[in-house]
C-alpha cells in the first residue's frame, strides 16, 4: 500500500516532531514574522501600560493605587468580577491627571492618554506631547494605534479560528468519505472560492450593524476555502496510511479516526494556510473599517484610523502614515511567518537565506 521507505518516513516524523520550530525560527523570515506576532500580542495584552490616562503606579492621599495594571487584567476579561479599580479611579468623572499633585509619586504610561480621551489639540502634528499627532477630535493617535492593535489581533485570530473549524470539518469530511460527499463539498468549495470575497462581505454587512464581532464572523464564514482544500488533501492521503487502516481494523469509530488519528497528523500544512489567512483577514478588516463597515467609531482600529486620517489628508497628512505602516507590517509579518512555516514543512522549497 505505502511505497515509502523507512528513511523517508523517519525524516518526515523528525520534521514534524522537533524541527518545525527550529525550521521556523532558524530562518530570517520566520524570526521577523514570529517576532512581530509576539510584539502585537504584547501590545494588545499590555496596551493600558503603554497608553492610558491613569498611572501605572501612584500614591494618592496616602494610599497606593495600580489603576493601569488593573485595567490590563480587566479589559482582557481575565480578572474576577470583584477585581476592579478601587475608588476614586473607577469613577468616570475622575481625572487622574489634574487630581494627582505634582509632588505625589506616580509612574505614568509612556503615552499618558486614553484612546477616547479628547484634548484641545485638534489635528496636531507629531510632537513630544502627541508622538504621532492627534485626530480631528483631539484624540491622541499613538494611544489609538496601541488600542487598535486589539482589533487586528482579534480579527485575525478569531476569524481564522472560525475558518479553521469550517474548513477542517468540510475538507476533512470530503477527503475522508470521498465519493459523492467529496463531489458535493468540492463543488461548494469551488463555488465559495469564485465569490469576490470582499464584496460578499460588504453585502452581508449591509444587513447587520457594523461591529467587530460581525466582521470576524463574516470573514471567518468566507475565508475557509483554502483551509478546506488543504485538509481535504491531507485527509485523503492519511486515510490510506497503515496506521489508519489498523485503527479501522480494530473497530475504531469514524469520528475517533478523523479527529484522533488523521487530524493531528494533518495540522501542519493547515497551519500554513491559517497564517496566510490571518494576513488576509487583517487586510480585509482594515479595508472594511476604511469603508465604514468595520468597527464603529469610538473604538479604534487601524482601518478606521486610516479612514479618519484620509478625510483630513490636506490638513494633516502626517496622520496617514502610522496606520498604513502598522497594517503593512502586520500583513507582511504574517506572510513571512507563513512562508517560513511552509519551508520548514517542505524542505524541498527551502532556499538558503
Amino acid at each position: 500500500m505505502t511505497e515509502r521507505t523507512g528513511q523517508n518516513f523517519e525524516s518526515e516524523v523528525k520534521t514534524v516532531r522537533c524541527s518545525l520550530w527550529r525550521g521556523v525560527l532558524g530562518s530570517v523570515r520566520g524570526r521577523i514574522g514570529f517576532g512581530f506576532l509576539v510584539l502585537m500580542l504584547g501590545v494588545w495584552v499590555f496596551g493600558p501600560l503603554l497608553a492610558s490616562n491613569q498611572p501605572i503606579v501612584c500614591r494618592y492621599r496616602g494610599q497606593w493605587y495600580f489603576p493601569a495594571m488593573v485595567e490590563v487584567v480587566q479589559s482582557r476579561g481575565m480578572g474576577p468580577h470583584w477585581f476592579e479599580k478601587s475608588s476614586p479611579f473607577n469613577l468616570p468623572q475622575f481625572d487622574a491627571k489634574s487630581e494627582l499633585d505634582a509632588d505625589e509619586f506616580a509612574i505614568w504610561p509612556l503615552i499618558p492618554f486614553h484612546e477616547g480621551e479628547q484634548t484641545e489639540d485638534v489635528l496636531a502634528g507629531p510632537s513630544r506631547r502627541h508622538w504621532l499627532g492627534s485626530d480631528e477630535l483631539g484624540r491622541d493617535v499613538a494611544a489609538r494605534m496601541i488600542h487598535g492593535t486589539a482589533v487586528s489581533v482579534k480579527v485575525g485570530l478569531v476569524s481564522m479560528g472560525i475558518a479553521v473549524i469550517i474548513g477542517v470539518m468540510l475538507g476533512g469530511l470530503a477527503g475522508y468519505r470521498g465519493g459523492w460527499v467529496d463531489f458535493v463539498i468540492s463543488r461548494v468549495i469551488e463555488t465559495v472560492m469564485c465569490f469576490p470575497v470582499f464584496f460578499m462581505i460588504l453585502s452581508i454587512l449591509v444587513w447587520f450593524e457594523p461591529s467587530i464581532v460581525n466582521v470576524m464572523i463574516v470573514i471567518g464564514l468566507t475565508r475557509w476555502t483554502a483551509i478546506a482544500r488543504y485538509s481535504r488533501g491531507e485527509f485523503m492521503r492519511i486515510k490510506n496510511l497503515d496506521y489508519v487502516i489498523s485503527a479501522r481494523s480494530q473497530g475504531v469509530g469514524n469520528l475517533r479516526i478523523m479527529f484522533g488519528h488523521i487530524l493531528p497528523n494533518s495540522l501542519t500544512p493547515i497551519l500554513v494556510s491559517v497564517s496566510f489567512g490571518v494576513a488576509a483577514a487583517v487586510l480585509v478588516e482594515a479595508g472594511l473599517s476604511w469603508l465604514g463597515f468595520g468597527v464603529p467609531d469610538p473604538q479604534p482600529s487601524w482601518g478606521s484610523l486610516l479612514k479618519s486620517a484620509y478625510e483630513h489628508l490636506r490638513v494633516a497628512p502626517y496622520l496617514v502614515y502610522p496606520p498604513c505602516v502598522a497594517i503593512f507590517l502586520a500583513v507582511l509579518s504574517y506572510n513571512l511567518l507563513g512562508e517560513a512555516l511552509r519551508d520548514a514543512i517542505d524542505p524541498r522549497s527551502r532556499k538558503s537565506l
Binding site: M1, T2, S246, S249, Q250, N265
Partner: protein, 326 residues
C-alpha cells in the same frame, strides 16, 4: 481439508473499477482477487504466497472487510462477515486483527506506544486508565519490548521493535484470527527469524489462527501448516506445507520453489526461470492466466481456465493446471 474451519472464504472476488475519460465511465475492472476459496482450521496457519501485485494484500484486507468485496462470502466463526451490521461488525473485529508489512507506516507517529497498543481497549470499553496501562505493559512484555518504553513515540524504536509493537497492538483484544500481511518482509534477515519465532510462540500460547502472507516461500515453509500459491488474483495451488515443498504440481509453484536458495546440496535444484513480466490484472490473459510464462503450456491452456482440483492422487492437494496429473 479441515471441516472445523474458523475462517471460510467462498468464491471471493474483489474488483476495482478502472475509470477512464471525462465522464468517469467505468470501462474496465482490475480483478485483484478473482474467485478465491479456501478455509483455515482453528489454530492453523495458512501461508499465502505470490509475487507482488498478485492480490495477496487485497485478499487479506477483503477478508477483514477493510476493502469491500465485489462478490463471494467470508464466514468467520459461523458469522457471515459481509452481512454484519455496524455494531455486530465492531464486535466481530475484536476477534480478527491485522499485522502490517511496513513497521514505519503502521504506527501513528504522534501517539505514544501506550496509546497505540491500548486504543482498542478503550474503544471496546475493556480497560481504561491504570487497568489499561497494566494490560499494555503485559502485552509489551509478551512481545519482547520493555514495558518501561510505553511512554515513548514510534520514531524512537528500531524496525524490529516497531513490528513487535504492531504485534502487541494486534493481540490487545485477544483475537482468534490474525492476518499477518508480510510481517517480516521489511526487516533484516536476523530480525525476521526473531519475529517469526515470536509469532509462533504467540500462536501456541493463545491458539491463534494465522493467514500468513509473504512473497517468500522460505519464510512460509517454516511457519505454515498449509500453503496457498496465488497468481493474478487466483489461487493456483493449495496443499499442506509438506506437499507443496515435496511435490509441487503447478509449474508456477515449481518455479517459485526453484528460486529458494538451498543450503542443502543434496536437494538437487534446477533453477526454472520465469520469462516475461506478470501480466496486468486489468487484462489477464485468456485461459490459464499463467500460460504466457509457462514452459508446459499447450493449446488448451490458452483457451480454457483450469479449475482448482485435487491432483497427484491426493484429495488435499489442489492445483489449477491442465498439465498436472490427477
Amino acid at each position: 481439508m479441515c471441516n472445523n474451519n474458523l475462517v471460510k472464504v467462498e468464491n471471493l472476488k474483489t474488483w476495482f473499477p478502472v475509470r477512464k475519460g471525462f465522464f468517469s465511465r467505468s470501462v474496465r475492472w482490475l480483478k485483484a482477487v478473482d474467485g478465491v476459496s479456501f478455509g483455515i482450521g482453528a489454530g492453523k496457519t495458512l501461508g499465502l504466497v505470490g509475487e507482488s501485485g498478485c492480490g495477496k494484500t487485497t485478499l487479506g484486507r477483503t477478508i477483514l472487510r477493510l476493502i469491500p468485496a465485489t462478490s463471494g462470502e467470508v464466514v468467520f466463526g459461523g458469522h457471515e462477515v459481509f452481512s454484519q451490521s455496524g455494531r455486530q461488525m465492531r464486535n466481530l473485529r475484536r476477534d480478527m486483527q491485522l499485522i502490517f508489512q511496513d513497521p514505519f507506516g503502521s504506527l501513528n507517529p504522534r501517539r505514544t506506544v501506550e496509546s497505540i497498543v491500548g486504543e482498542a481497549l478503550t474503544v471496546h470499553g475493556i480497560a481504561r486508565g491504570k487497568k489499561r496501562a497494566a494490560r499494555v505493559a503485559e502485552l509489551l512484555e509478551k512481545v519482547g519490548v520493555p514495558a518501561s518504553y510505553a511512554g515513548r513515540y514510534p520514531h524512537e524504536f528500531s524496525g524490529g521493535q516497531r513490528q513487535r509493537i504492531g504485534i502487541a497492538r494486534a493481540l490487545a483484544l485477544n483475537p482468534k484470527f490474525v492476518v499477518c500481511d508480510e510481517p517480516v518482509s521489511a526487516l533484516d534477515v536476523s530480525i525476521q527469524s526473531q519475529i517469526i519465532n515470536l509469532l509462533q510462540d504467540l500462536q501456541k500460547e493463545f491458539g491463534l489462527t494465522y493467514l500468513f502472507i509473504a512473497h517468500d516461500l522460505a519464510v512460509v515453509e517454516h511457519i505454515s501448516d498449509y500453503v496457498a500459491v496465488m497468481y493474478l488474483g487466483r489461487i493456483v495451488e493449495h496443499a499442506t506445507a509438506g506437499d507443496i515443498y515435496a511435490n509441487a504440481q503447478h509449474p508456477y509453484t515449481q518455479a517459485l520453489l526453484s528460486a529458494v536458495p538451498q543450503p542443502d546440496s543434496n536437494r538437487p535444484g534446477k533453477r526454472i526461470r520465469l520469462e516475461g513480466e506478470v501480466p496486468s490484472p486489468i487484462d489477464p490473459p485468456s485461459g490459464c492466466p499463467f500460460h504466457p510464462r509457462c514452459s508446459k503450456a499447450v493449446e488448451k491452456c490458452r483457451n480454457e481456465l483450469p479449475p482448482l482440483e485435487s491432483k497427484a492422487g491426493n484429495p488435499g492437494h489442489l492445483a489449477a493446471c491442465w498439465q498436472a496429473k490427477c
